[in-house]
Symmetry: C2
Subunit: 231 residues, 2 copies
DNA sequence: CTAGCTGCTATTCAATTGGATAACCAAATT
DNA sequence: AATTTGGTTATCCAATTGAATAGCAGCTAG
């Protein structure tokens, strides 16, 4: 990867932000954040050096202290960005409201698998942090993960109450579903070496979403599938 | 955690190894390996310092160079130990041979989930390494992961050919199953903070295995379960 | 047009790290 | 008993790291 910033970034005043310097500042901040996401995801909090992140963004490493106080602040800002983007990109389309709960869940799975494929950094960062049991993990759980989780829980409980889903433990449901969606993209490198397969392809992504739905959410389709073995 | 080695470890000659020094040496090596597994799992390759590992084992850090040449050698020795133990502990009991393929697979799932619960270091080490795309990953894939994977593949293909399982992509099957089994234990810290649940309990482990089987391998049980919603 | 604020850079510092070397000393060999 | 071997320790070294500080340059306000 090459450095991401050209010396002559001269944005004039196209945004409504008015002031040239504050606009420039916001841009720089966003750039550092982007690079921090990639580097944190690839090397973990300890493995990522602020110098690498700065170098990758093409800025002086002192700037990180200026914008984010310290490495911890940078990490939290990056994770905050990550979850905000998640919520934006995972918003259900309005027409989903008319669907039955199980169909809504399938739609949610498709969106989530595509999100995982598009942004593998998310799972990579959070898994590494979760393994380490840091203050950062507690912060992220309280602030983002647990609230998001409540939603998944409600979704699951509704399926069970409607009698369209087996009543397994909530936490098992949660980890089975999310891990099934994330893992292939989180472990894209491994998969590359095992299967020689690049996960970038839309076909692979969509087929994976459908596989999850077939195995975990679609009784009828599944029974049909297993009754008609290939050739 | 405290240091793991007492100064007065005096093993006499109880093993058949004969020579006192070589026996002592093997013990020290094994001790370092154990500690390396834990520290590598918790902090990743870069985050783990050989000094921490040595300190944790209660030995001088120079010893690691003597026994394993360098940090890379230590990591590979630890991973080799890890996979050898996996193969030992995952061996199918002889009576499994009489079962139908689907039942064999369920038995395999139960064994694997218990293994993941007993040794969460395994998934933790390998996931972190896979995220980073290192030489070590390529080494481990070629030497351990890919061969193990071939077996899972064969198991899956047999189920499909017998018409008892839907014909999804092999790599999707692989990542869905293994991730479903590993993730809860790999992410035990996160789960602790979200659910206040300790994964150490056998009940949680066995229930998770059964949940996976219900969702992914047991059509009849699943249909029965969804037909009788709780109260 | 000028003064000063501010986004940014250059440099320094102490701590930690992987690795290398030499000395040590108990066990093994003679 | 004397000597060699080899597992272990103590120390040193260069590189990297997070953080801190001082200073610069150009936009902005007056």
């Amino acid at each position: 990867m090459t450095t991401a910033r050209s010396k002559s970034g001269n944005p004039k005043r196209d945004g409504k932000a008015g002031n040239l310097r504050t606009e420039q500042k916001a841009q720089t901040r966003a750039l550092i954040l982007q690079c921090a996401l990639e580097v944190f995801a690839e090397r973990g909090f300890d493995g990522a050096s602020v110098r690498d992140i700065a170098g990758f963004a093409g800025v002086n490493h002192g700037l990180i202290r200026y914008h984010f106080a310290d490495k911890d602040g940078l990490w939290k800002a990056a994770v905050e960005f990550l979850f905000n983007r998640l919520h934006e990109e995972m918003a259900a389309p309005p027409e989903d409201a008319k669907l039955a709960p199980l169909e809504q869940t399938k739609s949610w799975i498709r969106r989530y698998v595509r999100y995982c494929a598009r942004h593998p950094e998310h799972a990579r960062i959070m898994v590494q942090e979760s393994i380490r049991d840091s203050d950062r993990l507690r912060w992220a759980v309280k602030r983002f993960i647990k609230p998001d989780n409540e939603e998944t829980r409600r979704r699951f409980r509704r399926l069970v109450e409607e009698g369209v889903y087996p009543d397994i433990p909530e936490h098992s449901f949660n980890y089975i579903i999310t891990a099934a969606a994330q893992s292939m993209f989180m472990l894209a490198n491994e998969m590359k070496y095992i299967y020689g397969l690049d996960v970038a392809s839309d076909d692979v992504v969509d087929a994976h979403a459908e596989a999850i739905i077939t195995l975990l959410f679609d009784h009828r389709a599944r029974r049909a599938a297993v009754r008609r073995p290939k050739s």
